[in-house]
């Protein structure tokens, strides 16, 4: 079966600036595929090219078997897009926003009306049907934007940083809804700079940094490949760490020294912690945890994801 999205040597330049630099990836039908990376890595530019609202500079891109440059309107009619910034019509009601959007796809009013009922139920906004968008919370607006993105029953839903700026509770509600969509077989493309989001939602992901793809795989396989099993986070009083980096580095095969703490990568956290005790160093706190995508990113780029 041919992939739903196939990108080869995909490049986007704005004048002198290269936003996306010669990347290759493919997404299969029914997959939930992520782009993980810090702000400015080129994730949004990639999404906009897939969404046929930004012409590609070089390389080739096929989405749902269509060419975004030549067949933009046809392609967009089969996509759902949840942009990074909410661009709902603030002065209109929830219902009107959805009706208006459905009509852009040239759907009949009767069909849109039916879908609005189902979608509001799905995103748990049925009671807010007649409320003005202005009055909704951030999490509700996001959910409404997702409902809007589903109004044309898309073959592919593109979500650009779906939970950025939401409180933890709203994020979990949203994840739950996205997880259900995934269960229903909707192909999802998600960009995020939250590793927990990528771990929760993505079957497979690419890590982007400075316009390039630096790694690819499932969240688990990336962690296995790039990070030892466990991490010991050692926090020191401010200023102390600057004087003793070499002593800390001796404690584990691989270490990352950050501003206020050191990360010790190890296959056996217990013996590493014992080593710290025996070294005579006096950290403020010691925390052992399983390694995460954050550690993968740190390993690959030397910087943390969210700064």
């Amino acid at each position: 079966m041919t992939p739903l999205i196939q990108a080869t040597g995909l490049t986007k330049r704005f004048g002198e600036f290269t936003a996306v630099d010669d990347i290759d990836f493919s997404v299969e039908q029914g997959e939930s595929f992520g782009f993980l990376g810090p702000n400015g890595a080129g994730k949004t530019s990639t999404m906009r090219m897939i969404g046929a609202v930004s012409p590609i500079t070089e390389g080739s891109l096929s989405v749902l078997g269509l060419d975004p440059t030549q067949q933009g309107p046809q392609l967009r009619s089969r996509l759902g897009v949840v942009p990074q910034e909410d661009n709902l019509d603030q002065e209109l009601t929830v219902y009107d926003n959805l009706m208006m959007y459905g009509r852009y796809f040239d759907l009949s009013r009767a069909v849109v009306r039916e879908r609005i009922d189902e979608l509001l139920e799905f995103v748990q906004l049925t009671e807010k049907r007649k409320s003005k968008v202005d009055s909704l919370s951030g999490g509700m607006k996001r959910r409404l934007t997702i409902a809007r993105g589903l109004i044309n029953e898309p073959d592919l839903l593109i979500l650009d940083e779906p939970t950025t700026g939401l409180d933890p509770q709203a994020r979990h509600v949203l994840w739950d809804r996205l997880y259900r969509l995934k269960q229903q077989g909707v192909t999802l493309i998600i960009t995020t700079h939250y590793m927990d989001e990528a771990e929760q939602l993505c079957d497979r992901l690419v890590v982007m940094d400075k316009a390039k793809i630096v790694a690819e795989g499932s969240p688990r396989s990336l962690i296995e490949e790039y990070a030892p099993r466990e991490v010991v986070e050692v926090r020191f009083p401010s200023g102390v760490l600057e004087d003793i980096p070499d002593r800390v580095k001796e404690l584990a095969p691989r270490t990352e020294i950050l501003a206020d703490r050191a990360l010790l990568y190890t296959d056996d956290a217990e013996s590493t912690i014992a080593g710290i005790a025996g070294s005579g160093l006096e950290p403020e706190t010691i925390l052992a945890r399983r390694s995460s995508l954050e550690d993968v990113f740190l390993r690959l780029t030397g910087r943390s994801l969210v700064e």
Binding site: P73, L88, D89, R103, Y104
Partner: protein, 258 residues
Amino acid sequence: MATPLSLRVFEAEARVYRRTWRGSVISSFLNPILYLAAMGVGLGSLVDENLPAGVEGISYLTFLAPGLLVATAMQAGAGEGAWKVMAGIKWQKTYHAKLATPIGIPSLVMGHMLWAGARVLMVSVIFAVIMSAFQVAPLFQSLLAVGPALLVGIAMVAATTAFTARLEEPTGLPLYFRFVIIPMFLFSGAFFPITQLPGWLQPIAFATPMFHGVELSRAIVVGTEPSVTWWVSVAYLSAWIVVGTALTVGPFRERLTP
């Protein structure tokens, strides 16, 4: 011209307008009444006393009304191409939302122009009805004058949208209204003949779209001879529409689908 999808954009604009139509219709009625009463009847009685032969041979109210119809359409057109466009591009990004659907830049621009044209038409028809209530001219003749008013209004929608599409910051808009729209409103032949202007200003007034509309409208309502052959004025106004629309597409494409 009107692609099916541009009609969807039109429909969306109408849906937004439905929220505020009452206030908008009331002011569309009130403004011409206030202006025609104050300037046409009030100030006009002074003018007529001092000019027994009338302005260009007619009463001041009769001189003013067809010009003010076009001036009102001109202002309405400029209004439709200003803050709303800024909001679509920058503040609310509703244009970005539309472009994520099958709607493309040409349908977006066309739908915007169609709706703005409809708004200018509403304002102009209301003005024409009131103008005939002031007994300036029979209703039918007043409504005929909506033609040139509409052309001027759409020309201003096109020109203003092309201008707004190039603005990074909205601060340019108040300046545009203060230094372009209000002077055009006042000095393009609606309130007094442009021959009263200092010589160097006359060519500028002559070049405005509004002047050509005022001449046509006055010719229809009063029967005066326009200073430019009617079809030249119509062609000139049409050129503003075509060029303004063409100049909108470029910056829209650059800013909305970079």
